[in-house]
Symmetry: C2
Subunit: 317 residues, 2 copies
DNA sequence: CTGAAAGCGCTTACAG
DNA sequence: CTGAAAGCGCTTACAG
């Protein structure tokens, strides 16, 4: 049995012919070492857990994909547990479920309240890394980040440079002053001396954007809108279109995410490209460092790119 | 120690006050049982593995979501491993990685060649269930299915009933005669005595649809196109629109999936609604039965729904 | 280079 | 109701 173990784990101190025979037997019997026993005895763990407020939404799914790819290449598996909401009860249930597995470490997607609260509630002493949209790490755990603030500022400045007096903003549901996108939007307005209109709040989906579109259609002072994500922007554009308002001639619209389909829209959407796969890969790399005991696992920040398409133009008149 | 175990596992034979003290100590120390040791000793496994050719694409992500939700409610975690392609090497690597974890069972997403081959290569004796788009189970393992054939037939019949002489079809990449969508399309044409045009093949993404759109714009005999998924349909519609061809007046288009955004498109897309979340939930339920040793875990089939919107109309003239 | 022995952290009969 | 003892299936020093 120790010999089998040595062969399977590639120890060098095994006679070639013995190793050969072991391998044949393993093949013939379809033997697979019991992962639980293996991890218990060796202390080596090969499961990485992702904790997230959702899985199927574009950004979540892509980040998860980035984690999975990086983990697989490193020989590790990834488990996923959804945190249903930011409520204590849901946060605790998700953490309990995750930690019932022999996990090597946890990656938390801090894209929403559920993720933020989960990151806070995780016990000490466990390798943890967060992935999110800040411009610098917030807690004590290392973070892989996308600088939403810079992107929000850039998008807003672009509209201002086109000649718009100000830029309206439809923010996401859980965003307060802590949303990077909203922060960047406000900073750009302040820097330009432009008035800051009331923030419009919406859920992340297109129907929320559509409802705001119905109202914006009746507001004569709106010439440019920066939306917190692409779905909201698309819903908004459809509502405006349904009311005979032309984008971008009457109103310019910018989204956030750069989902694949928004380039096909008519008009195609100007938006901010977030590289979620890269975010997931960076988060995994960081977690590997933490698991490996590297003392100075450094947080990383990347700036997303503004992608200019057809939905933005100078104001008319 | 046995007492602690009994308290944590809710055995009734523990004095209330002792249980109380144990719970307090557990709280204070932040003690969590080692999952590996637990699963090894008890033989109970709480990890379900999903094997899939992708994770972020709409159908995959939604099915995964369905699995995760159902698993979580049953107190189980889910791991995800991507099978990079249908090549032996990738299939084997993915299976090895998955089975290195102490998994209770495997759900294979048979949405593509990678998934189909993975299902075939899984060793005997392991609880396995497949989820896919057939109308009946194909192998010996139980399956949760969506009846794509019926849907493909229904979509095609709908176009025929509108008065189209025939219906063109853009199929997905790996689809041969075994694609339910394509089978259903052909069956409808045959039943109606309509001529079956050459199948057009495309990758699953919008750009593939766009390229076919460029060619179809030059084909005078095309009045209706049934696309294997929504992305292809949207790419096609954009290409037609770019060439001044009106959908649905000049050409009718039907997609497959009913992604959230296609209802917002202009024109909104007639498509087939597949309930992927339900598919994932059914797959997990089936796997639970298999794990539980139920002898007659029955495959389930559901029919997707045709959703009629603006992209389809009678042929002109 | 290769076996016998110990032990990872739990749970489960087993005695009391 | 509650401890002492065995054992799940591996890996890792330890002798040889």
């Amino acid at each position: 049995m120790p010999t089998v173990s040595r062969v399977l784990n590639g120890s060098k101190y095994v006679a070639p012919d013995l190793a050969q025979r072991v391998n044949e037997a393993v093949q013939a019997l379809g033997y697979r070492p019991n992962g639980a026993a293996r991890s218990m005895r060796s202390g080596r763990r090969t499961l990485v857990s992702v904790l997230a407020g959702a899985t199927a939404n574009y950004g979540y799914a892509r980040t998860l994909q980035g984690v999975e790819t990086a983990a697989r290449r490193a020989g590790m598996s990834v488990s996923i547990t959804v945190v249903e909401s930011g409520e204590d009860e849901h946060v605790r249930a998700a953490i309990d479920l995750t930690l019932a597995q022999p996990t090597a470490g946890v990656i938390v997607l801090e894209f929403d309240r559920a993720g933020i609260n989960a990151a806070k509630a995780l016990p000490e002493g466990l390798p943890v890394v967060v992935a999110g949209g800040g411009s610098r790490r917030t807690g004590q755990v290392p973070a892989a980040l996308i600088d939403e603030r810079a992107a929000g500022r850039q998008a807003t400045e672009y509209l201002l440079h086109l000649g718009h007096r100000t830029v309206h903003h439809i923010a996401g549901p859980t965003e307060g002053k802590h949303s990077g996108r909203t922060d960047g939007w406000r900073a750009a307005l302040t820097a330009a001396g432009a008035p800051a209109p009331q923030i419009m709040r919406a859920d992340w989906d297109a129907s929320a954007g559509y409802r705001w579109g119905e109202r914006i259609a009746g507001m004569s002072d709106v010439t440019a809108v920066f939306c917190a994500n692409d779905d909201i922007a698309l819903g908004l554009m459809r509502a405006l279109s349904d009311r005979g308002i032309d984008v971008p001639r009457d109103i310019s619209v910018i989204g956030f995410d750069d989902q694949p389909l928004v380039a096909l829209w008519r008009p195609s959407l100007t938006t901010v490209d977030q590289d979620f796969e890269d975010l997931g890969a960076r988060a995994f790399g960081l977690l590997s460092q933490v698991i490996g005991g590297e003392p100075d696992a450094a947080s990383s920040v990347k700036a997303p790119q503004l992608v200019v398409r057809e939905s933005t133009a100078p104001p008319k008149g």
